[in-house]
Subunit: 280 residues, 2 copies
DNA sequence: TGCTTTTTGGAATAAATTTTCCGCGATTGG
DNA sequence: CCAATCGCGGAAAATTTATTCCAAAAAGCA
């Protein structure tokens, strides 16, 4: 006879299910177990991190009571139950990592068919966008917006993979009535274009791994000229991160070794429309 | 001599301070420690919950390296450092849903706020991607794939809003080892570039409302030269639709008068990866 | 190249945490 | 009021987890 006889049903796998079960069975529990139940419902976060020792002390019960509590709900022990609380904190919304990895499993082995691939990319990109909202550093976004607001002229650079983002930014910022120049390398005049920057301008560099050297060089030149740098990148460890006035870090989905740009473009959209509405 | 000699300064007490320190000293660390640093910055949540064993496995280093890493930043051990990550999750960031509403309060509800806009764009784009899977005409996609498969050279054109998609296609197709040329208008030589097309080539035109005239003219020229046309557009009534060999129709989200490109780019991804896998 | 210093990974150690076991005490039903 | 049952807490055992130590490898330097 492993646990409580009334609970033959399996242990809940999500925090919401578990909470519901706890609430349901609350009155059928013993006094101490009710005490634990209340504490669990009221302090889910402490459960997620705490050890049996501290939780039991905080809840005013004996350590073994916690184990009994977990057993009463079908778990093998406290640790297994705790994992539910942790996972909830870990990926709150319709989990991101799970969704991405599910993409691979659900759609099975790649037959190379473009249909399959489209499904995979679509759901991966969609998941990333959902996550973007929760992960982005909004103060950085607002900082960038402020800088752009005051800029006399905006210079934008991104090469290879990020060229798309850079060119979209130019397009969108011009629609927001900002003066924007894309530093492309047409005619090999990269540095000449970059040389035009003045201290009341702003530069936006879009630089993802492996951090193209051209962009770094131009950004460095901008910094030397006293031009504030807005960096749109994929990591805090991006080479220019230390010197940027505002660094916006976005995580992009990767499927089949190809990284998307959905999130970056989304940020670009938000930024430029925001500026558009602030035009007087 | 307890730890690294260069770090006499005290261990950071908040996650932001710690992250900053890690970013700062990243390049002065040893190879393995850099590896850890990157993992820490990229996966803070996993650090908060994981045990030394699983984290070190995920980060691809030896358990003792994690302890050394913590020591290098002035902590007595990994656990002490981990507590920083936990505390951040504990109160700094309440939870995604809470965070979003908190962000709203902090930055206001007004539609001009870039935060609010980001939310709107992200959810609109995400929703569009989810719909894409159900709405796309897959036979058109496969037709396009077949054409590209056999093409000697691929010419791609898109201007203004669709320039982004066109340039992404070029980038991606080249990565799939296809010969691809973007018909831009550098030097005003649009028609000269287009004049290169031969009957065994293929042209991709990306043309959304209001259907730029330049693209139509070039596509017409391609058709006249017997070049099959793949059309990526937003409506069956697109001017070139009637004459295209394959027409892929995607619907894009619109927020605040700005149309996205997520779906188009997603199609472009699928198409090019599909081609890449079929290279022999 | 040969030597010194630093870094790394393996194994052993130490610490902590969780779980089990068992007897005591309270509660309930006869 | 007594007996059976259930719940509880104390303490030890078992397991997991973090840390230290040391030798080998790598990197830097002369």
């Amino acid at each position: 006879m492993p646990t409580s006889p009334s609970n033959i049903s399996k242990a809940p796998k999500t925090l919401n299910d578990l909470k519901a079960r706890i609430a349901d069975e609350h009155q059928s529990l013993s006094k101490r177990l009710q005490q634990v139940a209340r504490y669990f419902l009221d302090n889910p976060k402490d459960i997620a991190f705490g050890t049996v020792a501290v939780i039991s002390k905080d809840a005013g019960v004996h350590p073994s009571t916690l184990v009994r509590f977990a057993n009463a709900f079908g778990y093998s022990g406290f640790s297994e139950m705790q994992r539910i609380f942790q996972q909830h904190l870990l990926h709150e919304s319709p989990s991101y990592k799970d969704r991405i990895s599910m993409v691979r499993e659900t759609f099975g082995e790649d037959d190379g068919s473009s249909v399959r691939l489209l499904e995979q990319f679509a759901s991966a990109n969609s998941a990333t966008l959902d996550h973007l909202v929760g992960e982005l550093d909004y103060s950085a976004l607002e900082k960038a917006e402020g800088l752009l607001q005051q800029a006399n002229h905006i210079f934008i650079m991104g090469v290879r993979r990020t060229f798309v983002v850079a060119s979209y930014l130019v397009y969108a910022l011009r629609h927001a009535d900002r003066r924007a120049t894309l530093i492309d390398s047409v005619g090999g005049m990269t540095m000449e274009q970059a040389g035009n920057m003045r201290h009341d301008d702003v530069m936006i560099a879009v630089s993802f791994h492996p951090y193209a050297e051209e962009t770094q060089r131009v950004a460095q030149q901008a910094l030397d000229a006293g031009v504030p740098l807005i960096l749109l990148t994929d990591s805090e460890l991006s080479p220019l991160a230390a010197r940027a006035s505002a660094k916006i870090i976005v995580r992009e989905a990767e499927v089949h070794g190809i990284r998307s740009l959905s999130s970056s473009l989304c940020v670009a959209q938000a930024l430029s429309v925001s500026l558009a509405t602030k035009n007087k």
